[in-house]
Symmetry: C2
């Protein structure tokens, strides 16, 4: 087996001086070119020569040294996706990351698993980011926002179901998902509506507002309507238990939190002889492919995350013009998709 | 609306000198305590006083300054999960992240979307990580490994289906998944076996070795067996097209790449009147809950990612004792789970 390339003792790491010598330019020119400094005019052939010299020597600038010189970084911290990863959310972060990179930011995803919110904020601040997008409603306190701002962050933005005081917010208001589902069921004449509440603690951040939105929609209804929360674990035994006592609940419809819970519960209901939708209408959420493969085909709530201005441009604007009042950008658009199960 | 907490002009960022003054200790003591330096004995009450002073002032050390002083960081770069996120892989990274943090490393996830492999290596090197875990087989070249090593990385480790020359490797050998599936189908007396190959380019990294493992298992079989690759997009139309010409293919079994493709294809086959398993046996992979909810219940290949020594400890050992020959750690364990579809 070959040895790992090691740096032999006595041979030093290539420096910008080495690059300058090889390219026949000054160290300042090397710095301008490799840091994409647009304020200095340097010809394209010179830029190319510097880049080739750097590539040939394997020289890379030191982000830490650069950020110390500049007093700040071009680093934007994004939340690392945690399991369970919601595909929609994952796609949103992926898009945001590539858009920020096009705007010449360095994007670093930073996990906060096992850290208290204030510990997480201090860990983030150590990287001296110019902007932080913080996940969830619970992961940032006013203290944490202060730590980040004092460390030089120009924009602190939460990404979650609710805004946090003192920070900008991308708000994914999950109440709208529950609201859509229940309004759809009401429009089909259903009045006694179960709402599945997953027992998995990771999902509470989504499940609680989805339930709250369902309750609100029932309250706003002209016809009297009942909402019955239904705690459920994501396993067959829990679903069979619920199906076994289904008829004692006297429900004529159920919003199942999402399509995967819909598949779980619909299978248990059908195995018990409960007819869908005749006896009980079922609607899920997230509009996954699997819902279209079920029989009856599953009704769902389709969700989009979108802002009028692309989120990366909003972040860039907040970094360039800090100090304004906290902004709220509502990302989540929901709409019921009626199929055969409701 | 409240204003964002801004740093008023003329009021400076808290420094370690401020912390030292408030705690009544030297700056060196502040540095020892906040950098968890274990070589210096400092009493627990003093440590607490320093931490409280730092918390009260909102002081955080500057990672960049610390890494310049130390000449290296305690940063480990992990690959950011990309869509589509495989839950198993996501759980592996989550576990690795929290284990590394317990070993006092700073874990940063770094996306490489839209970057060429060598660009990615240079971007990673700018953060001067002490170790890099690089995703996929394609994301690291010998040049990139050299750039990272010269920038001070003690351990460069790939995480993917195949090792890369000159780096350590956590190998997730997906061939074993296809091998398990086909050996199971052969054991049921099936001899003409279709293998679904997803058309989604993101999945090629998994799909190609799964197919290769299936082919190898058929070659190794005592009874003559045929493998027929079946390209399939993850949509209903593509599945219906395949189901419509199913009987002309003359296959008696199919390995569907994973459980989600199994659900898609099984639905289309059943809608066309093909009986599962009588006419065609079906086996998926990943052993998702949804497979148990299908009728017939779906056979699958269950996959675990495990090493004899926890991966975080392997990384820590490689960081402490760099320079050895490249190590190969095979993570993937696969086993067929027989249910009613095969």
């Amino acid at each position: 087996m070959s040895q790992l390339p090691q740096q032999p003792a006595g041979i030093s790491v290539p420096t910008s001086a080495d690059v300058a010598r090889l390219a026949g330019v000054s160290r300042a020119t090397v710095s301008y070119v490799l840091n994409n400094n647009a304020t200095v005019r340097i010809s394209e052939p010179t830029r190319r020569r510097v880049r080739e010299a750097a590539a040939g020597l394997g020289y890379v600038p030191h982000a830490a040294a650069r950020s110390l010189r500049a007093g700040h970084t071009r680093t934007v911290l994004l939340p690392a996706a945690q399991a369970p990863a919601v595909p929609l959310y994952q796609r949103f972060l992926t898009r945001l990351e590539s858009d920020l990179r096009r705007l010449d930011y360095t994007v670093v995803q930073y996990g906060s698993i096992g850290l208290e919110p204030d510990e997480a904020a201090r860990a983030w601040a150590e990287l001296r980011p110019v902007a932080v997008v913080s996940p969830g409603a619970t992961a940032l306190t006013p203290y944490g926002i202060g730590v980040l701002t004092r460390s030089g962050a120009k924009a602190v933005i939460t990404l979650g179901p609710q805004p946090v005081d003192g920070a900008h917010a991308f708000v994914m208001d999950q109440r709208e998902v529950g609201g859509c589902a229940v309004r759809h069921l009401l429009s089909r004449g259903r009045r006694r509506i179960g709402v599945v509440v997953p027992r998995e603690p990771d999902l509470a951040l989504f499940a609680e507002p989805r339930l709250a939105g369902a309750v609100r929609a029932a309250e706003d209804s002209a016809a009297p309507a009942l909402i019955q929360p239904l705690p459920l674990r994501y396993d067959e035994e829990s679903a069979e238990d619920l199906a076994a006592r289904w008829r004692t609940l006297g429900l004529d419809a159920v919003f199942t939190y999402d399509d995967e819970y819909a598949m779980l519960l619909m299978r248990a209901l059908q195995d018990t002889g409960v007819e869908v939708p005749a006896e009980t209408a079922v609607i899920g959420a997230d509009d996954l492919m699997l819902g279209r493969l079920l029989r009856p085909r599953l009704s769902s709530v389709t969700i989009e995350l979108a802002t009028a201005q692309p989120p990366a441009e909003i972040i860039d604007r907040l970094v360039r013009s800090p100090g304004g009042a906290p902004e709220r950008h509502y990302l989540l658009r929901a709409a019921a998709v009626a199929r055969d199960s409701s």
